[in-house]
């Protein structure tokens, strides 16, 4: 009985040894190098929706059997970051994704330690001179729309308020949709928060402005500002 017991113990040891000895052969160290970047127009980062993996870039690396891209998620302030192994990569925007003219030109990046890259895009429109201020229970917004690429009408402009620093057309507590705006002159609009439960509860207020051109999957955004 004791002998068989020992045998069982030994049999249990077998997979354990196999498991232990399998380590260390096919494992890499985790990637340590860093790719830091921004999506920019005229040197200014382009604000986008930062939630829901909405705006992505794609990293490719040649010389391997498989060719799937690594998705790189663009944050709402237009920045992105990826941890990579050293090497040469190709960075492209995702097809028809983002508030800019679809352009799938490749940017070649050499990552060694840390690499910084700016991806130049051409938005259909930009927002400038954006002023957002809290006045009593409303957000006063003033801004200017500039046509850049052209060729597309403005679908709508949104004034968005949220209770966290993530504000976009999905994450918001109050929105005002404005149609029929044209580029050029300064526009002023008021977003009323008087009936907003989060505002009345004294929660923080963050705001930004979004513009969607007709037929694009994403809007272009101003940077988020904290108003309370």
């Amino acid at each position: 009985m004791i002998i068989t017991m020992r045998k069982y113990v030994n049999m249990l040891l077998l997979p354990a040894i196999v498991a232990v000895s399998s380590c260390g052969l096919d494992n890499y160290d985790e990637p340590e190098s860093k790719l830091l970047g921004r999506v920019v127009y005229n040197g200014e980062p382009v604000g986008v929706r930062g939630t829901g993996e909405a705006v992505q870039l794609q990293l490719y690396q040649d010389g391997y059997e498989l060719h799937s891209p690594i998705p790189v998620y663009v944050g709402q302030d237009g920045t992105f970051e990826a941890k990579l192994f050293d090497g040469e990569y190709k960075l492209v925007t995702r097809d028809n994704n983002g508030p800019w003219v679809n352009d799938r030109d490749t940017t070649v990046i050499n990552v060694k330690g840390t690499a910084n890259v700016d991806i130049e895009v051409t938005p259909f429109y930009t927002l400038s001179n954006v002023q957002l201020a809290l006045n009593g229970s409303s957000v006063n917004a003033s801004f200017q729309i500039n046509e850049v690429a052209g060729g597309r009408d403005i679908d709508y402009v949104l004034i968005l308020a949220g209770k966290t620093s993530f504000v976009d057309d999905v994450s918001y507590t109050e929105r005002l949709e404005i149609k029929g705006l044209t580029p050029g002159s300064t526009i002023t609009e008021v977003l009323d928060l008087a009936n907003n439960a989060d505002f009345k509860a004294g929660k923080p207020v963050f705001a930004r402005i979004a513009l969607r051109s007709v037929g694009k999957d994403q809007a272009i955004y101003s940077q988020v500002v904290r108003l309370r």
């Binding site: 030994n10 040891l13 077998l14 060719h67 097809d95 994704n97 999905v170 929105r175 999957d217």
Partner: protein, 614 residues
């Protein structure tokens, strides 16, 4: 360490020894009883039918009653089996079908069938038609999710080590190409199959093939039409997604011809067995199998038989009528209920407040739904409506008249006040997280089985799930005629449907009328999502805007009025509210019009190009 390694050696020796000895008997020399050779299958008609039955069991995709949560992710129903759903956007893989395993199996079947001599020629022809129909149906389900996909014909691919795999790699067809293939196959199949009905419409016949042809053609026509009316049509450079606009007319003509063939020549009809009770008539046309003249093809179910039933009734029956511990997993939402018109008013909003904003009082909660489209009662169990002959109570609480204002009182399950009047029904609706208590104000009626024991776990339900039915032929004909500018024809067809529903006829037909009619006629029948996609309306209806009338889900809560001494005491009022168990409005983005292509498929076959937005 040393000691244990010696023991391992012993163990291995022992194991090797045992293997050696036992191989000397013919214990392992047995014919497998789960793997059949081609000769065994195709030498025996019973086996052939059995294999075909297996394929019939593998073609349920998208919404269906055995996967009732799929009803809660659009704008038809909401879940009430516990905590809220967090659905906001839609997955890139939602209802994506990529079943080349099934297509290969069907092609193996066709090869074996064509070679056998054990089956009579006319039987062979029927089986060939059915197998090819199931293959065309599979391609159709792939196409409506992803656009054009590789068409492999009758090819059965075999791989041997070392061979050139590029000959196995087929590129994607164009989106028009895959619909053309399906339509062409259906034409051929329809000549192979019988024009007779079969038991419970479970097998494909000529009319099933023509229905798939009509549906594929109307999908292709509307895609060619409405995609190109978008500000930026969704397409790929190679046409894997995106059908040229000039193809629309041809597809509409094909759809109209196929639908009219079914309408004029098939043994089916718009079932009207109970003209005096149109609600009941509509329920029976969809949910009663015997003597049914409406349903052309269905996923049939039977008891007994392992895995052959559906738990839809078990899961969704009202608590008041439950026969087991399960109940009320989900319920239809107000959005759907209000899309059913009144007999004389196309705005179906439930009248709960008058012009001054005061409650409208009803003697019976069911009175609020008087004069509605008869299909409503056949699709949804309304508050206090009958199911299996007894009323289904739905009461959220009491509205107590208190010093000039209404006070809302909500109680525990089936709690009564001091006067013995019900406060909150055990059925609900409630706004809390209590599992298996209704939270929308309505229960499913369509496909809810009335048979005794159908809501027990041990038995479950034999309810079928119709995939094609006569009303679809009529509405495809109406839509195609409308798009071809044949208004009188379109009006004639749509009014057949509306007459059976007991609502006023139309004098002209627009796309919105088609969308509206299909929405209410085909609720829970796996049409809504695909319809809004092909009309390119999904991103407008499910726009992600909080409190949008179409993207947000709404519930309707009935209350008992407690106002002693007034005329309204004992009557009922309603509150419309955001459905508490679905936190976010539905958000369909442009990328959702086509499923994403899995990158693994592309790695295996570099000729596969990706979809837009990917």
């Amino acid at each position: 360490m040393k000691k244990s390694s010696i023991s391992i050696f012993k163990v291995l020796m022992l194991a090797g020894g045992i293997t050696c000895f036992s191989s000397c008997s013919d214990f392992l020399e047995r014919q497998p009883d789960t793997i059949m050779t081609d000769d065994q299958i195709f030498g025996d008609e019973v086996m052939v039918r059995s294999v075909l039955a297996n394929y019939y069991g593998r073609v349920s995709w998208g919404q269906h009653i055995s996967d009732d949560y799929t009803y809660t992710i659009l704008d038809e129903a909401g879940k009430s089996d516990g905590g809220p759903d967090n659905i906001q956007g839609y997955s890139n893989e939602l209802w994506r079908v990529y079943d080349y395993t099934l297509i290969r199996n069907i092609n193996q079947f066709l090869k074996g069938l064509r070679e056998t001599t054990a089956i009579a020629e006319d039987e062979k022809q029927t089986y060939e038609g059915e197998a090819r129909f199931l293959r065309a149906w599979t391609y159709f389900n792939m196409a409506r999710g992803m656009g054009g996909m590789p068409i492999v014909g009758d090819e059965v691919f075999e791989y041997e080590s070392g061979m050139d795999i590029t000959v196995l790699q087929y590129p994607r067809s164009t989106e028009a190409g895959i619909y053309d293939y399906i339509i062409g196959e259906c034409d051929a199949i329809s000549t192979l199959l019988s024009d007779k009905k079969n038991t419970h419409s479970a097998r494909a016949n000529k009319w099933v093939a023509l229905m798939l042809k009509a549906r594929a053609a109307i999908y292709a026509g509307s895609l060619a039409n409405y995609n190109n009316k978008m500000p930026s049509p969704i397409k790929t450079p190679g046409g894997e997604v995106g059908i040229p606009a000039d193809r629309a007319q041809g597809y509409y003509e094909q759809a109209l011809a196929a639908a009219q063939d079914v309408i004029n020549n098939s043994p089916y009809q718009l079932q009207l067995n109970k003209p005096d009770d149109l609600q009941r008539n509509f329920y029976e046309a969809l949910s009663i199998k015997d003597n049914n003249t409406e349903v052309i093809w269905a996923h049939d179910r039977i008891y007994p038989g392992t895995g052959q039933q559906t738990s839809f009734t078990t899961r969704n029956i009202p608590g008041s009528h439950a026969e087991d511990i399960d109940r009320a997993y989900a319920g239809p939402i107000l959005n759907l209920v209000e899309d059913f018109e009144y007999t004389d008013n196309r705005n179906g909003a439930i009248h709960i407040r008058d012009n001054q904003g005061n409650y409208i009082f009803y003697d019976d909660p069911l009175d609020a739904f008087a004069n509605k489209d008869a299909r409503l009662g056949g699709t949804v169990i309304l508050p206090n409506a009958l199911f299996k002959g007894t009323p289904v109570p739905l009461q959220a609480g009491q509205k107590i008249w208190n010093n000039g204002s209404w006070q809302t009182v909500v109680g525990q399950s089936d709690e009564r006040d001091a006067a013995g009047r019900l406060i909150t029904s055990a059925n609900g609706p409630v706004r809390n997280n209590d599992p298996y208590v209704n939270k929308t104000g309505f229960f499913f009626r369509k496909f809810l089985d009335e048979a005794s024991g159908a809501s027990t776990r041990g038995r479950n339900s034999e309810m079928w799930f119709p995939r094609f039915r006569f009303a679809e032929a009529v509405l495809i004909a109406a839509e195609a005629a409308m798009e071809l500018g044949q208004q009188p024809v379109a009006v004639g067809y749509i009014n057949q449907i509306r007459e059976r529903a007991g609502i006023q006829p139309l004098t002209s037909v627009t796309l919105d009328d088609i969308i509206q009619e299909r929405r209410v006629e085909f609720a829970f029948e796996n049409h809504r999502y695909w319809d809004l996609k092909r009309f390119r309306r999904a991103h407008i209806v499910w726009n992600g805007v909080v409190n949008s009338p179409t993207a947000q889900q709404y519930a309707l809560f009935p209350y008992l009025v407690v106002a002693p001494g007034t005329a309204n005491d004992g009557k009922y009022v309603f509150d419309r509210q955001v459905f508490s168990n679905s936190l976010h409005p539905r958000f369909f983005e442009l990328r959702n019009y086509y499923n994403f292509i899995d990158l693994g498929w592309q790695n295996a076959n570099p000729k596969i190009v990706l979809n837009p937005f990917q």
